[in-house]
Symmetry: D2
C-alpha cells in the first residue's frame, strides 16, 4: 500500500514498449529525429495551435527553466508560499533564474487569487528597493491537491498581465487536472492566458518525460540554448520523445489519469465516510489529504501503509488540525489498485470503530 | 553508414532489458531504491575503493557539475582550448560554476602537458586581476580521439596539485580509453590523482546514463543538493541505475567498448593504407580523423557516408591540413558493423585510385 | 526638518578634511597605500584582535558580500522577514550569493530569537527538498530601530552554530547601537559569536565608507578576489581609507553617533509626552517610529516635515496600528539640530491639542 | 617618477572643491538630488542627444554592468583576448552577466577588426554547441594605448550589428581618446554605432566617478534595478555627481586629458629619439610602451622610476621583443610634471649612451 507519490511506480507498458521500439537503428541526436517531430505535431493538435516544445529530463528542470523564461535575474517571481517551486526544488528556480527573488504569497490550499496579488502589490514600496515583479508561477494542481477552474485561471492571468507579469503553469499533474475539469488543454492554458507550461509525463505513466510548452513564441527565443546550457538537452532525445508519443497517442494520458483520479475519489469517499476522519482539502485530483489522529497514522503505518505526513500550512482557517492530529498525503497513480485503496479504508475504519 | 557520433544509436539490448525489468512494482524515488544501491556497490568494486556516486541525465550536466565541484564562482578553471567543456556545452560549465572564468590552454590533439600549465602560470600577473586558479579539467579521450597514458595523467595531476588545483576527468568515452590503455579503472583515475570523474554510459550502450564519481569525499559534500538544484535528480532514478547495473554486470561495458574500438582500428588501418589519405591524429579510441581532399569528402557524402567535418585546430604542427583538405571525424560505436566500415574504406579506395 | 534618513546629509567636516588631505601626491592604488594600512591597524585596536578588513563603496555591497561569504549558491540564508537584506537591497544578496535561497523568519520589531530558529528548523522536511541552512544574517539595529543586547546576540549565535550556521551582522548603524549598549565593539561582535560584520560609516558621517570585517580568517579566504569581481575594489582606495581613519581617530565615530542618538531620544521623549501619540517600537538608536493619525501625518508633511510612512509589519501584537493610523519613521543624524527636533514636537503638540 | 597608472594620483583641485561644496545641507539620496539632475543635463549636451546615465563607483562595475546589458547569461560576449574586460577585472563581467561566455579575439595592439569578427564567425559550428553571440565590447583606448578612428569604430559596429551583436565601448580613458581624435563625443560613440559606454572620470581627475551611458533607451530598461542589485547605487550619490559636474563644467575634462596626453607625447618623443629604444605600439593617448633592455629597466627602477613590466602579447608581428627585452608601460596623468618626464628621458639617455 504505497501511497507516497506517483513517482514510486514505473512506466505504463505501452510507453515502455514504445521506448524499446524506438531503440533500433540510428537517428539524429539532440532532437533531430522523427519521434521528436511527431510529438511536436501531436502537441500542436493537443493544444489546437502551434506551440514550441522542449523536452527535458525532470520536472524540477522544467519548472526552473520556465521560471527563468518569464523572470530575469534582476526580477521577482511571485508564487504561492507553499508551492513546489519555492519549497521542494532545492533552489533550482533561484539557480536557473540567476539569482532572481522569489516571493511567496499566501492563499488557502496553495491557491493564489487576484485579490492576493493586489494586496501584495499595494504593499510594495516602489523605487528600487525590490526587484521588479516579472512573473507569476501557479500550480495546476497545487501541493494540496487543488486545481484552479478555467475562470479562476483567466482571472489570475488577467490580473498578472495588468501588472506586467508573465504566467507559468506548473503542470506536473496536468493530466489529472485536465481530467477533473473536463475542459480542453487549450482552455486550461493559453486560452486562459498561460504563457508557458511545464507538462509532466513522469508522474502519469512515463519513465522520464517532461516538457516545456511555450504558447508565446517570443518567450521561446533562445530557449534551445538555455536548455542545452542547463544540461537538459538529451543526446538520445528520441527515447524521451517515444514516451511522449505513446503518451499522447489515442489519449493514453487520459486513460492513465482517469484511473489515478478514480482511485483518489474512491479513497476520499471511503475515508470521509468514516466518523472522525475529515479531509484537509477537497479531493480534486489524484491526491487525498485526510486529517487523522496520530494514533490512526501510527496504526496505518504499522500495517504497511506508506504515505507522507504533510504540512498543515495552507489548511483553511475553519479546518485546522488539532494538536494531536496529522495531515496525511495519499497519492494514487495509474497503477494503484482498488484493492489497496479498499484495504487502506478498511484499516482506518477498523481502527476508528474500536475507539 | 552513420559515423556522426556514438549517440546516434539506441541502447544495448541487455541494458534495455534491464531497464524494462526494473519497471515493475514500486520503489523509493530519487535514488532510495535497490538498483541504485547495487550500482554504488558495483562502482566501489570497479574502482577498488569507496567512491561517492551521483547519476545524472546528461554528460553536459555531469561535466558542468564536476567543474562546479572543483572551481568556485570566483575561481578559474583551466582546460584545453578545444575541449568539449569549453566549446561544446553551450556555456553549461559557466552556468553551473556561477560565472567562474574558464581559460583554454594550448596543446596538440587536445592534450595538455605540465609544461603548458607552467607556461600559463608564469604569465599570470598576480594580484587580483584574475580569478585564482582552482581547477583543471582534462578529457580522457580528447575531442581529437587521443588519450593520456597513466604516467601522463599522474604528471598532470601532480603539476595541478602543486599549484593548488583540483582535477576533473571528462570520461564521456571512459570505457573506450580504458580498453585501449588496458589498465584498471583505479589506475586511470584516483591512483593517478584524479579528484572527480564524469563517467559516461550513454555513448557506450546506455539510453541515458551518466555518473559523477567523487574520489575525494570532501568534494562530494553537499553535492546531493547541488544535483537536485540543477534539476538532475531523477524521480524514477532506478531506471538510470538499472542501466548502469547491466552496464557494469559481467563487464558488459568492456565488451561494448572493445567492439567500438575494434571498428575504429579497422577503419583507421583501412584508411591509412590508401595512398593520399593520412590521419590527423593517431587512432586511439573509437574515433578516426582522416585528412582527405574535399573531393573525396564530397564523394563519400554523396554515397551515404555520414560524419562531421571537424576542426583543424589542434592538428600537430607537422601534420597540418592543406587548403583543399578537410579533417573528417568518424565515430564508431558498440553497434557499428564491420561491413559498414569496409564499405566506407572501399568507397574511399575506389575514389582515390581513380585520381 | 528632513528626517527621511541618515543618508540625506553630507560628511562630517573632519572626515571631509581628511579626504582632501589624502588627495595630495601619489599612492599605491587598490589599497596598497598608507591610509589603508593605518585603518587596518585602527580596526585591530578597535576590535581588540586581528581582523581582516575590506572596504567597499556601499552598504548593499557590504551586506551582499557578507551573505555570500557565509552562504554558498546551493545554501539557504536565514534572516528576518522584514530585514533590509531581504526587502531593501533589490536582490543584491541573491545576486552575490549566486542564487542561494533566502528565508525570512518572523519576530517582533525585526528581531529573531533562538526559539524562532528552532521552530523553523523543526518544520524543515529534510532530504534534498530545500537548500541546506548555511548562514544567519541579523541586523544591529533592525529596520525598526531595535537592537540586540549582548546576551541576545550570544544566544542567537550559539543557536546558529548548533545548526552549523555562520552568522553575519548588518551593522549599517553599528555606531549607534554601540553607543546605546555602552559595551565594547568586541563584546558586541566576535566575543558574542559574530563571524562577519558589515560596518557602516556612511550613515554616521562619512561620504561613502563601508567595511566588511572578518573575525574568522577562514571566511576571508579569497575575499579579495570576490570583492574585485564584484566591482567593489576602488582604485583610489586611500580616499575611502582616509575617511575611516578620521572616523576612528579619537573616537570621532562615537561623538557623531552619540549626537544622533541624543536627538532621537529627545524626539522620542517629546512625542511620547503628547497625548494620542505612542511609539511603534521603543527608541533605541537614531530612529523613532511614532504611530500617529493620518491627519497628524498630513499636518506635519504640510508643514515641512520629511519622513517615511513605514511598514506596520513587525509591530508588537499588543501595539497594532488602527485603520486610520500610520507608522512614521523619523531618522536623526550627526547633524540633526535640536531646534528641528523641537519644532517637530511643537508641530505635533499643537495639532494634537487642538483636536 | 611614478608612471604606474593614472589612478595613483588624487583628484583635480577643482573637482575636490566641488565635492566639498556639495557636502552641505540635506539632499535626496540615491540620485534624487540637484547635482545628479545637472550632470544628466550636461551629458545630454555633451553627447548632443538624450542619453540615459547611471553613475557607479568603479570602472570594473561600469564595464561589467555594460557587458550584462548587452549579453544575457546564455549568450557570448566577444572582446579582444587581451582586453581589460577579459584579463583585468577578476571575472566581474562573468559574474555580472550571470555566467555568459566571453570569447577573446586576436588583433594587434588590442584592436579588433571586422575581418577578425568574420573569421571567428566563419568557424562557429552552429547548432547549440556554443552560446549565441550577443555582444561586442571594445576598448577606446586599448590596453596597449591604441585607439580606434571614428571610421574604424563605425565599421566594427556595422559588422557587429550585421551579426546581431550590440556594442559596448570601454571608455576608462575616454577623455584621452577624444582629445587625440579631436572629434565630438557623439561622433566617437552613438553616431558611430556604439550602444552603451563606460565613461571613466577616475583616471582623468575625479576621486571616484564612473558612468554608464546608454544611447539605446531599450537597453537601459530596468537598469536602475540592475545597478542597485549590484551594490552600485550610492546613497550619497550627489558626491559622485558633484565630481562629474565639475569634470564637465567648462570642459575641465579636456584640460586634464590634454595635459596627460601632452606628457605622453613628450615622453614618447624623448624615448624614441634615443638610439636602442623603440616603442611597442604607437603613442596615441596617455600611455607609452617602450621596448627596452632588461638592463635599462633595472637602471630606471634603481633610480626611482615606477612603472609596470607589460605583456608582449599583442605586439605587431614585425616589432616583437627580443629575449633580453621588456615592454614597459608608462602612464601619464593630469598631474604628471614635465620635469619628471624629462628626468626619465635623461636617465634612459644617459644609460644608453654609456653602453
Amino acid at each position: 500500500m504505497n501511497f507516497i507519490s506517483d513517482n514510486v511506480v514505473g512506466a505504463s507498458p505501452r510507453i515502455l514498449a514504445a521506448m524499446a521500439a524506438a531503440n533500433e537503428g540510428t537517428a539524429g541526436s539532440y532532437g533531430a529525429d522523427a519521434w521528436t517531430a511527431r510529438v511536436e505535431a501531436q502537441l500542436n493538435a493537443f493544444f489546437e495551435r502551434e506551440v514550441t516544445v522542449f523536452m527535458v529530463a525532470t520536472g524540477t528542470a522544467a519548472n526552473a527553466l520556465c521560471a527563468a523564461a518569464i523572470c530575469p535575474p534582476w526580477g521577482t517571481l511571485l508564487t504561492h508560499r507553499e508551492s513546489h517551486v519555492i519549497d521542494d526544488e532545492c533552489g533550482a528556480p533561484e539557480f536557473y533564474m540567476g539569482g532572481a527573488k522569489i516571493v511567496g504569497l499566501p492563499g488557502v490550499g496553495g491557491k493564489i487569487t487576484p485579490e492576493i496579488i493586489d494586496a501584495h502589490i499595494a504593499n510594495e514600496p516602489g523605487g528600487t528597493r525590490r526587484p521588479p515583479l516579472k512573473g507569476l508561477s501557479i500550480a495546476q494542481g497545487t501541493e494540496f491537491g487543488l486545481i484552479y477552474s478555467v475562470p479562476e485561471i483567466a482571472a489570475l492571468t488577467a490580473k498578472a498581465k495588468q501588472h506586467g507579469l508573465r504566467v507559468h503553469m506548473d503542470g506536473a499533474r496536468f493530466s489529472n487536472a485536465l481530467v477533473t475539469l473536463g475542459c480542453t488543454p487549450a482552455e486550461m492554458t493559453w486560452k486562459a492566458g498561460i504563457d508557458v507550461l511545464s507538462l509532466g509525463g513522469t508522474k502519469n505513466g512515463c519513465l522520464m518525460a517532461e516538457a516545456v510548452i511555450f504558447f508565446d513564441p517570443a518567450l521561446a527565443e533562445d530557449f534551445r540554448f538555455k536548455r542545452k546550457r542547463a544540461g537538459q538537452t538529451l543526446s538520445k532525445q528520441r527515447l524521451i520523445s517515444a514516451q511522449f508519443e505513446a503518451f499522447f497517442e489515442a489519449d493514453h494520458w487520459r486513460e492513465l489519469a482517469t484511473h489515478a483520479n478514480a482511485m483518489a475519489i474512491r479513497l476520499a469517499n471511503g475515508l470521509k465516510a468514516i466518523p472522525g476522519i475529515r479531509l484537509g482539502w477537497d479531493q480534486q485530483i489524484n491526491q487525498v489529504f485526510p486529517i487523522v489522529s496520530q494514533a490512526l497514522w501510527d496504526h496505518l503505518a504499522a500495517n504497511g501503509v506508506k504515505c507522507i505526513d504533510w504540512t498543515e500550512l495552507s489548511l483553511p482557517p475553519d479546518n485546522q488540525a488539532k494538536p494531536d492530529e496529522v495531515v496525511l498525503r495519499l497519492v494514487t497513480s495509474f497503477v494503484t489498485k482498488a484493492e489497496d485503496v479498499d484495504a487502506l479504508i478498511a484499516l482506518a475504519k477498523g481502527f476508528m470503530s474500536k475507539k
